[in-house]
Each structure stands twice: as structure tokens, then as C-alpha cells.
Symmetry: C2
Amino acid sequence: MRWGHRFRDQRVTTHVALVARAFGASEFILTDIKDEEVRATVEKIVASWGGELHFEMGIPSKLVVKNWRDNGGCVVHLTVYGENIETSDVLKRIKTCGKDLLVIVGSQKVPKDFYSPNVSDFNVAVGNQPHSEISSLAVFLDRLYEGKELAHEFSGARMKIMPQKNGKKVVKSGISPI
Amino acid sequence: MRWGHRFRDQRVTTHVALVARAFGASEFILTDIKDEEVRATVEKIVASWGGELHFEMGIPSKLVVKNWRDNGGCVVHLTVYGENIETSDVLKRIKTCGKDLLVIVGSQKVPKDFYSPNVSDFNVAVGNQPHSEISSLAVFLDRLYEGKELAHEFSGARMKIMPQKNGKKVVKSGISPI
């Protein structure tokens, strides 16, 4: 879940969504606001590169959190102020909680509530230094899935990259390399 | 080294620089162009949160690469088309090369040369799916340093976060928590 607010940067929001897809999330929710350009970019990527990323927007963040918890899920808020993913046991506790995870990626301007147990079961810092919501989500998911998400083959892809030591090679579905 | 070009996004470039600092790089070079706003934001973060991140901009990328190699360094280009960091042994080969690393973070529009051995000793894909130069740099450095960079204490910080399960706590240098 990406907390939406009127000061957010469109490009950053798009990158957050692409990280969600590439690092193993099944759904992306842009809360509180709607942005058709972000949706179009993300849907274009999914159409070309495959997989499924359920996309929602405009739902109030409080409602997303309430529904998630009512369905037995667990809420993880990524914030520089939280428990350090490297020096604490927070990731271990998250892994063993056995619940579906809603990961909140906000910004410095998220409501105060997000830091409280009323919203977040875990406040997790990908290091306690300022960097980016994009990098926080990527490193959190990379560690959560222990790197396996980067080997995932996306179904229904029209295009697929063939990894190379040098140069670029892309294969179109059913067609020879270009 | 962040490849600079006139279509780049200022916010994304700033996030790349902050990731470089937070994930253990000692230097950030914005090549080919100058951007005083990016420099000012990065210098402000360094002044508040400590550590040292040498900042350069406006140097031609070819010159940066030539100087680095002439001084015995090794060049790593992060690109979706490269060897997969999870499924290949590329990270192991980089770790054992024993040279100072210059990491190039570009965009889809980087010159073709960047993919050739004339520029890059290694072309590394943080997964072969599109996401973001910000997440690529973060996950690459997190894996390179095996997570240790997130426990690093930055010297000379005016402000320091005290990790919390809930809420926010920041300590100013020599002053009680706020």
C-alpha cells in the first residue's frame, strides 16, 4: 500500500509500484487519491513483462488497514523511525507471524497514526538513515523472500530478457531474439 | 556514478544519492550535467545525519570511467539486461576481484557503450524485471555488504534516530531526545 497525498511525486509512486511487482507483491494500492497516469504505466509494464499485480487506488488508507486486519492480516509500516531490520529481530518476528502482510510505504508526511499499534503491527526501518521509499520496499521484500523473488519467472509475458554479460537481448513471446 | 542526462528526474537522482550514502558508498558522481538543487539536498542530509559522501557533478561519464580504470578500479553497471544477481555467480566474481568499485546507475537511455567491456567489467541485473535505479542500487549494495551497511553509525551527525517499535524518537547531538 502506497500512501497517497497531494505532495507525492508521480515518478516515485510508479517506481514503488514496479518494485512491488518485481520483488514479489501480489497487489498495489495507492490510497486516498487516484492517479490514472500511474495506473496506465503500471498496467503497460504488466502487459509487457507478465505476472499479475492487482492495482487499486483511491481507497482511504484507514479503510484498507481496517479491512486487512479484519481479515486476519498483519500490517508492516516501513519507516526510518522503526526497528532496524539489520540490528533487531523484527524481520524474524514478521516471518513467524504467519499472516498475510500489508506493507505500508508512505513518506515523511504520513499521519501520526501510522506509527501506532492502532495501524501498524510492525514499524520497520531499512536502516535508520534517510534514503527512499523505493529502496526501503525493495530491500524489505528482498530480505523477506530471501532473494528468491529475483529468480521468479513471470507468466504471460510478451517480452523476456535473456541475461547477458554484455549487451542487451530481449525475446518476444514466441518470436526469435531481438 | 549516476549517469546524468537532460530527461532525468531530479527527485529520482536525489534518491539515488541518498541510497548511495545510506548503503555504504563513499562518493556520488552525477556525470555530464550539473544540478545544484540535487547537490544542496544531499549536502543538507549529510550535514544533519553525518558521515561523508564526496559529491561531484558535471564530469563526462567517459572521463570518470577512464580515470577509475587507470587507477586500477573495476566498473559495475547496474542494468536489467545484465547477469542476474540471484541466479548467476556475478556477485561472487565482483566480491573476489579485489578492486575498488565504481557502480554505474543509469536509465533505459544510457549510451550503448555502457553495456560493453570497454566501459563495464560487469553488467549486473537486480532481477531481469523493470523496476527502478534506486531499488537496484540499494539491493546491490545491501547484498555486496551483506547487510552490514544498515548497522553503520555515521560520524559527526547532528541528529540520530533511536529505533522504536512505535512512534518517532530523534536525538539531537548532545541534547536530550525530542
